[in-house]
Amino acid sequence: MEEIGRQSVPKRNLIWLTLTGCSGDIISLLDGADPDFKNLITKMTNLIYNNNLMAAEGEAAMEGLFGVAGKDYILAVEGAAATKDNGLYHVIGRWKGEPVTAYRAVRELGEKASHVIAVGTCASDGGVSAANPNPAACVGIQSLLNRKVIKLPGCPCHPDWFMGTLAHLLLFGAPELDDRNRPLMFYSTLIHDICPRRPFFDQGLFASRLGENACMFKLGCRGPVTRVDCPIRKWNERVNWSIGGGSPCIGCAMFGFPDQMEPFVSFNTTRQGWI
């Protein structure tokens, strides 16, 4: 990061599209630290477009967005893209009299970007936006683009996962990815393998209710099928994480979230009686 402070790595343009989702990923990013959002927009990138935070409105905002054509930019997308009825279920603005749908924005801006980062589970794999019955036919953005998309699933995406991936891009180029295009530096180890409660699992000591200090396997914890570094990195500047708070992992950083990770908590399981 010193290279960025010394201005020897040029600031690059960043577009942040908030598409069909809950806008949780930008909120999460704003809560990041070391480096924080201020560092992102002053030292690391020129944030050209972000519908939650920018001052521009209406036509001027759309001009700013599509004005990147021909320039170098990194595209970060949070939220899935609604595709039903030509994407009319999600309109992000109007430009030259036409509605600009999320569907259109992804396809027009995605192909020419130097890198595309799907931030959050919805942008990566459809996520909550694409949950059954998915009336707006939401899809993860990779399925709308012919080029590679770096996926950072998480509900929301941890600010460090985005900042770390972006910093790697700025300094060294694209990070090493797994076969689902997730950066290995964040998404390699199963939560189960680095969980502080793993000794309880190995000894067969299972919690039967939330809040008990034992393994939450019998309550339906998805740690064994989720690859991400929550036990180490934790959330809100290392304060806590799901298991530390007494709640099982719901697999929010995996493809298949939420439908294939449900039920999130099970009380009616294999445990018979107390002993």
Binding site: K218, G220, C221, P224, V225, S266, T269, T270, W274, I275
Partner: protein, 144 residues
């Protein structure tokens, strides 16, 4: 002192603690104190279950091993769905496996699949070529 005696002592200690806590609950001044005591009671109950489990292990009083040649009908397999205290079994390629304590089957559900079913098709699509079945305990075969 052998393991049994140590465990028995700890169990008795917990039980007498629980007695004292119940005495205090009768005279609790307010709901904060009462809840605090009730929380402690829960912890004691959990501690006792852990100790009894330890007793079972040290006497070898584990659950009896299932007969590996058991034949399952689809209805019998469906009953082993991991709910209501039933074990969690799944069938792959005609063999029935016990996934009750398999890490990836927390809550008897794996990526949206419930236990108590034949998951041969889903297994072939997702895990072809992976050495997963070797790590599971086979408990029988499907009928037919």
């Amino acid at each position: 002192m052998n393991d049994h005696e140590i465990l028995f002592d700890m169990i008795n200690e917990n039980i007498s603690q629980m007695d004292q806590i119940i005495d205090h609950i009768y005279t609790a001044q307010n709901s904060y104190n009462r809840n605090r005591l009730l929380n402690q009671l829960r912890k004691n109950i959990f501690a006792v279950t852990v100790l009894i489990r330890g007793l079972q292990k040290s006497t070898g009083a584990d659950h009896p091993q299932s007969d590996g040649a058991r034949i399952f009908t689809p209805a019998e397999l469906a009953a082993c769905n991991g709910k209501n205290g039933n074990p969690a079994y799944v069938a792959v390629n005609g063999i029935v496996y016990d996934v009750t304590n398999a890490a990836a089957w927390a809550g008897a559900v794996h990526f949206g699949l419930s236990a108590g079913r034949d998951v041969t098709g889903e297994f072939a699509v997702c895990h072809a070529g992976q050495q997963i079945l070797n790590g599971l305990k086979a408990v029988g075969k499907m009928a037919g």
